[in-house]
Symmetry: C2
Subunit: 495 residues, 2 copies
């Protein structure tokens, strides 16, 4: 019956694959006037997927499969489905669909509000979304869980407020003083960073870059959208997006390295695991692979040593007089700013901390929706010392809340921390610098595939970390990595 169950689930994942294709097509290809009717199609496909998963025949097959002698992989597969089912069962279909419909409207409202820099346009939707999210968390809640715990667990199994509180407390305690010191020694942004870089040439180089990193364009592609992201139809069709700015060439550069990091993860899952429950990789784990590539690798000298001359040859006018050292220095500058997606490595976790603190109050407490912007701005002043000039650059900057994604943000910081733990281990046990200077990332990618990526979500984050590095999640590596880097970059002795 286990085989039977997997066959039934193949249909579920085929519908998910169709949905991914629709969403990607809407973003990158479809004509404007098609969206509304295509949304009706995707609603139907979603409903079918949901019904399939909740169907009696699937449940019966699952129960019968559980009585068979199963190996560890099979048991874990079943556990993933059971958890998914349990969560679905907790939410009545009507509520689920109501929430979907609300989020669709809220996303439009958010876009409009952001464009017009008018929080009031989004406010009523945000209020409703918070209420719906609380209502759904209430239904899923286990004894002893806070409402926010429920949502945190959705994005990273096993993580709760307690663990995140400790994590962010450490970040606050250790990093806020470092940021202050770095800020006091602020370096100017070098001129070449703001020159104009031909977009077509950027595209060409970024495709080369993704390929160099290990992304297989025979089983994927990179297109353009407003905000870069990664999606997939299955392991052999992984789709990245990017956004090119003529006056900010490093934006696309690091988006490429980041998204290709996600993409390589998807391409490296074992054949037997694609289109199976093993694909439900947690956000934290996924971010660990993208941020590992973007930061630990993509901002290192060893990575750029063979690659930088290539970049220079694309943009001779802009870069011929910029040395590798100067380039590395520039892509590692730290500066306090308002925008999360443009933040450097060091200040990034503070952006997340602020969202974490606010979400906790929004979900657990009874926050005054009117006051959210001023709370946001006050925290930016407190932790990063910046004045937020507008809602567009403040509370309206991120898409997440308009889609009902509460509990997602913390996984960004978590992923960065997991990345640094793997990085520390790798540097200690493998000749990583030699690998990187050998001119492509194939040895590194092979290591990641073998140790981390091929398993999909069949190992939990802690299982994987224990098996690979010998210890469970430890945020200390993250802190040390950031502090060492800051000390080196800004020549601070007493960090």
């Amino acid at each position: 019956m286990y085989e039977q169950l997997m066959l039934m689930l193949k249909r579920y994942y085929s519908l998910q694959s169709a949905l991914s294709l629709f969403y990607f097509d809407m973003d990158t290809n479809a004509a404007e006037g098609s969206i509304q009717r295509s949304a009706e199609v995707t609603n139907q496909l979603s409903a079918m997927a949901l019904e399939l998963l909740k169907s009696d025949s699937l449940k019966e097959t699952l129960q019968l499969a559980k009585q068979e002698p199963l190996d560890a992989t099979q048991k874990r597969m079943i556990a993933i489905v059971e958890k998914q089912l349990k969560q679905l069962e907790a939410i009545p279909n009507a509520l689920y669909l109501e929430n979907e419909a609300l989020c669709t409207k809220a996303q439009w409202a958010w876009e409009d509000a952001k464009t017009k820099d008018d929080y009031d346009l989004f406010k009523p939707y945000l209020k409703q979304i918070i209420e719906k999210s609380k209502q759904m968390a209430q239904l899923k809640r286990e004894p002893g869980q806070s409402l926010y715990d429920v949502l945190l667990d959705d994005y990273e199994e096993g993580m709760d407020e307690k663990s995140y509180d400790d994590f962010f407390e450490l970040i606050k305690k250790e990093l806020v003083p470092v940021i202050k010191k770095v800020n006091a020694r602020k370096k100017p942004r070098p001129h070449f960073m703001d020159e104009r870089y031909d977009v077509d040439k950027q595209k060409q180089f970024n495709h080369e870059l993704a390929s160099y990193e290990g992304f297989d364009f025979k089983r994927g592609m990179m297109k353009e959208t407003e905000h870069p992201y990664t999606t997939n139809l299955h392991k052999d069709d992984v789709r990245l997006t990017n956004h090119y700015y003529e006056d900010n060439f490093t934006s696309a550069l690091f988006s490429t390295i980041h998204e290709a990091g996600h993409g390589i993860y998807e391409q490296n899952i074992a054949d037997a695991f694609t289109m199976s429950p093993a694909v439900h990789i947690s956000s934290g784990m996924h971010e660990s692979q993208s941020r590992f590539m973007e930061n630990c690798i993509g901002r290192s000298e060893a990575f750029w040593k063979p690659l930088y001359p290539r970049l220079q040859s694309y943009f001779e006018a802009q870069l011929k007089d910029v040395s590798l050292d100067e380039f590395i220095d520039a892509i590692n500058l730290s500066e306090c700013s308002c925008i999360r997606t443009e933040a450097d490595e060091l200040t990034y976790p503070l952006h997340i901390l602020i969202r974490y603190e606010l979400e906790k109050q929004m979900i657990n407490g009874d926050v005054d929706i009117e006051k959210l912007p001023s709370m946001w701005n006050a925290m930016y002043k407190q932790y990063l010392g910046v004045d937020v000039p507008s809602c567009r650059e403040g509370i309206l900057q991120d898409v997440h809340w308009s889609g009902g994604s509460f509990g997602y943000f913390p996984t960004y910081a978590l992923g960065s921390a997991i990345a640094c733990q793997l990085y520390a281990y790798l540097k200690k046990t493998e000749p990583l610098e030699v690998w990187l200077e050998e001119e492509d990332l194939s040895k590194l990618c092979a290591w990641l595939k073998e140790n981390v990526q091929s398993f999909g979500c069949l190992k939990t984050t802690n299982e994987m970390l224990r098996e690979v590095t010998g210890e469970p999640f430890n945020p200390r590596y993250y802190i040390d990595y950031l502090k060492e880097k800051a000390a080196k970059m800004y020549k601070i002795q007493d960090i």
Copy 2:
């Protein structure tokens, strides 16, 4: 229950929409290495669609809906579903899937055989496909039907061998002598037709052209594939493809007009009919709209009068010394050739006649598969006076048989004839030339929408023709149209 039935069918058409998107994406976008796994996804989606349609709950709902008081539209909707179901029920799932698998393999074999110009590579597959098609026709056959009748009815409800025999007999009798006369007065192909036309500029002009014709790019797109075709996700997302040849610019030009003709039909179906049984428009009806645009309109002087200067401005070097008259003359040249898709209006139906005669023998008789190429070549000699130099330019030229599509070809000629019947009526009753010379096709498209296109397949071809033109299908208009044109173009008195 009728509403309930339509809701259930929405799911079926949502799956069809997903399948269309997958196939289009595979053709125009997807990475090479994705195809095999994506084919597994589409197999799952197809199977789901089939099961949904054949499910007991759908059948029960249909039976209950039939007992309600229904209007004519509702009755016709139900009749379409019942016919579809009856045909599906006649074929056991296993046979259906066997045939699908065979066709997939046969298409690869056909491509290979065509590339290598080696009929023997395709022969064993063709033999099996004929057998499978006969086997399925046998199962669907009604009393009094020949096997080929069954297949003809699949593509054009109500048409059978008897009707097509009469139709093609008329074509043979009337047109073969005309073609001989025209051939005796052969005109040289003017030099400008074979000059090089920049492909990017072609693309630009062809997009403009499709738009001018009435295709709404806000609800559709035009991409590139090896062979041009039209598909749709629903009425608000209609997708055309084209193929540009630097040394043959009229190829893309008339593909655009043809495919946009199909596309406009899809865009013009009534809102209530998209993603419903009304979308099963017969091939003949669909071809009538594309060939109406391509030939009756797209090769007329009135159409090009306002548009030709625009074309000249795109290709000044090639066309500045070519007058409108010379251009019209060139796009209406008639020449006997081996390739159907490159045939002119006058010789085209003979290409179809040849395939019709062969199919009849393949399906009803016991044709010797070894002899098919020589039978093909003999008929090309007999009707068109040409020697077929190779199988690639002969029996292997078309994709249809490798996909098991027997009975499809005749609808191409039928569609052309329906087009001419509508055209004759329109010219008689509306100021068509004035419309065309008024610089876009909006009045014409509005007429087509109101009289023909908005109904989808809710009217049969004959119902539509009777209501619009006052008489049922009459091939005489087609013959007269072609003869008049030949007489005018080639200055033949005694035609």
